[in-house]
Subunit: 420 residues, 2 copies
């Protein structure tokens, strides 16, 4: 199958491209290198060194004999994505090409607006290109479990059967997200559902949990094939960040009580979910939603699991929660559709954590410990009042440290950190 | 009370500003004249001639002795709205300043993207300005009944109590809108609800029905105070368009069967709803939603009502529906919160229609009949693949006529037209 992977140079886009390639598909990668640009903007970096996309593609060819086509450009330029789809003629498009960090979107007004415009306009341009060129192309779009928030009722897979005053309706599951990033994905979902309804497009919205891990069988074949290992407060996801904190001898930092429960997924399962979604396309006109996660854990439980797996002392610290989230809440998620398609989940295990500790230790000298603590208080808007989105290379404006040790309610067993 | 009216030069913004001014409030008007620009872009025009904003403000001062401050600029420029709020120090902001025509948003990719960016970014900039400068400012935001779509269950006022698997939650009412314009308002609602939750802002989201009428007691005082009378296929709303078709001796055009049922409201009630919302502010942190409509009617019933009120022959024609909407559906809407605050509705009456016929007749020589029939098929995406939003003065690209007489199912009594 011919598959375009948008954002194919990113943390998950790259291993997904390799997995699909190895499974016999013909892959085109689209990227504008925005993610590498955020590193420059913010002074952060992947713990594991990254080869350039050109080097990666060469390495994959050497290792596997398989070719990857590359298109460099920006989805917010409508003409670009239109030309790429016309040239490559994909049967499926996997869309990872969005700004994907909630904390980044909450830095200030510029970053909120940039995130929503980048994500929403990129997806709109893609919908129009598909709608005009070939409505049969299956769109596989990355959403997030964070779109749902933490409702007091079970989270279903995208749709909800509602009974109200004696009548029934199947509705899009009501969303109540917790950041301008998460909101951008909610906006995307609404736009995509409409395009399916209006134009008969076929789409799969993958509401993904927090991804952990850094290796897939493909990326492990050669150091040049490695994907990102983020651990900073903006792009680092909770398990990976705890692992780096443990290895660096830093305290694991919990936001609030650590009672926030989140859906998780192993990076090896992510790439397999992408394959399963692509190989089992949605019907024409169908907007289907899969909850792409394999287990739920509270942040405190994640911290305890990492601490127990680590072969050394792990200190523990609790931070005032900079986020807008409940840290005690109901959380029960339906996530059976991908397992029905054949996913065999890897649950969070000591084996996986041990291999992550090894990777972190190997690259520990590259770590930037000052990037780990949160700098942005989500409850205080910061309006920088510029008129253009931030450019790659500009520095993080007016970051404010929200570090704040809680004393009264500190417990020595508490360990954790916010969700991504 | 000091009140900023964003979009205060528009169809409803202008009469709302006058009504609030006459009721003793101190008014600032913000506008970028985008609505007048769309006229130039599309070759359409208000049936009633419009004075410039400067002339309008002068006329209001002469007639009432009251002053209106004016700020000319664009909400998508964050610095502009930040400066205006800092200078004017409003207690409430009434936000009409969005691209408000569903058909306009469906012309092509450019217009879809322009609509979503203009509306979403403008509102985000406003939220940040309020959040940073004075969280006590009450935001009164114009939404639309079209955000809900036509669900098979009763439409409540913004929130829905859901019982699911034995548990309950109060959720944002699930939306399923029918155009990229309506979607932009759904995006806004989600962003605003988050800002209330995260920053403690206070907001009222007014999901307004289709407005009809052209005069309020204030605009009728002087021809220079008149507001718009749109009747074209893009900006004309259904009642006003039928009135003009009748007066011009043109057939009333129904989209599909005319069974589409919509909420309606008289322009005199709109301005009163704005006053009631402003004078009874939301609580700090509250995101409340009022359904701003006074009655529901099917398009066919609206057509019959107009035809019966018209003192002459009215021809009838049915068009293939260019829109993405059901024309047979359940529609029952809760809309009691504004009447609880004191609204006394004007229902659609022969008196009102007669006065609208008179206004239309008075200006009939200005009519542009070629602008009345729909030119855009919403079920066919048109990707013009430009990279910038349309500029004022550019012409409507590649308009396609979707006029199509249905023959078999045509009935001589059918009369109507699509909702706005």
């Amino acid at each position: 199958m011919k598959i375009l992977v948008l954002g194919g140079d990113g943390y998950l886009g790259w291993p997904s491209a390799l997995h699909l390639s190895r499974c016999g598909h013909q892959i085109g990668i689209v990227d504008n290198f925005a993610r590498r640009g955020y590193d420059q903007e913010l002074g952060i970096a992947s713990l594991v060194p990254l080869a350039s996309l050109r080097t990666r593609v060469t390495a994959w060819r050497e290792v596997s004999g398989l070719r990857l086509e590359v298109y460099e450009g920006d989805l917010t330029e409508a003409g670009f994505i239109h030309r790429v789809i016309r040239a490559f003629r994909p049967e499926a498009v996997v869309h990872f090409a969005e700004q994907r960090a909630a904390p980044y979107s909450m830095i200030d007004r510029d970053h909120a607006v940039y995130t929503q415009v980048n994500n929403v306009v990129g997806t709109l341009n893609l919908l129009y290109a598909i709608g005009e060129l070939d409505r049969d192309i299956h769109l596989v779009k990355l959403g997030t479990m964070g779109e749902y928030g933490t409702p007091n009722i079970d989270i279903e897979e995208g749709w909800l059967e509602v009974e109200h005053k004696g009548r029934t309706e199947r509705v899009l599951y009501p969303k109540r997200p917790g950041s301008f990033y998460h909101l951008s994905k909610v906006h995307d979902s609404h736009n995509i559902e409409f395009a399916c309804r209006a134009w008969g497009l076929r789409a799969t919205d993958l509401n993904q949990g927090i991804v952990y891990g850094q290796q897939t069988p493909d990326t492990a074949l050669d150091p040049r094939l490695a994907t990102r290992f983020d651990y900073d407060s903006l792009f680092g996801t909770v398990v990976n960040r705890f692992v780096v904190q443990a290895v660096l001898g830093l305290p694991l930092t919990v936001y609030g009580s650590g009672g926030q429960t989140r859906g998780l997924i192993d990076i090896r399962d992510t790439v397999e979910c992408i394959r399963l979604s692509v190989e089992n396309p949605a019907r024409a006109g169908e907007f289907r939603v899969f909850n792409q996660m394999t287990q739920s854990m509270s942040v405190l439980d994640i911290a305890r699991t990492v601490a127990e797996a680590y072969p050394g002392d792990v200190e523990v610290e609790r931070l005032a929660n900079p986020r807008v989230e409940a840290d005690q809440h109901y959380y029960r998620v339906q996530h059976s559709r991908l397992t029905e398609l054949g996913l065999i989940p890897h649950l969070l295990s000591e084996t996986l954590l041990t291999s992550l500790f090894d990777i972190a230790r190997e690259h520990a000298e590259r770590a930037l410990p000052q990037t780990i603590l949160p700098q942005t208080d989500w409850r205080t808007p910061s309006a920088t009042a510029r008129t253009t989105p931030p450019q790659v290379g500009e520095m993080l404006p007016q970051a404010r440290t929200v570090r704040q040790r809680s004393s009264a309610d500190d417990t020595s067993t508490a360990a954790g950190s916010g969700a991504p």
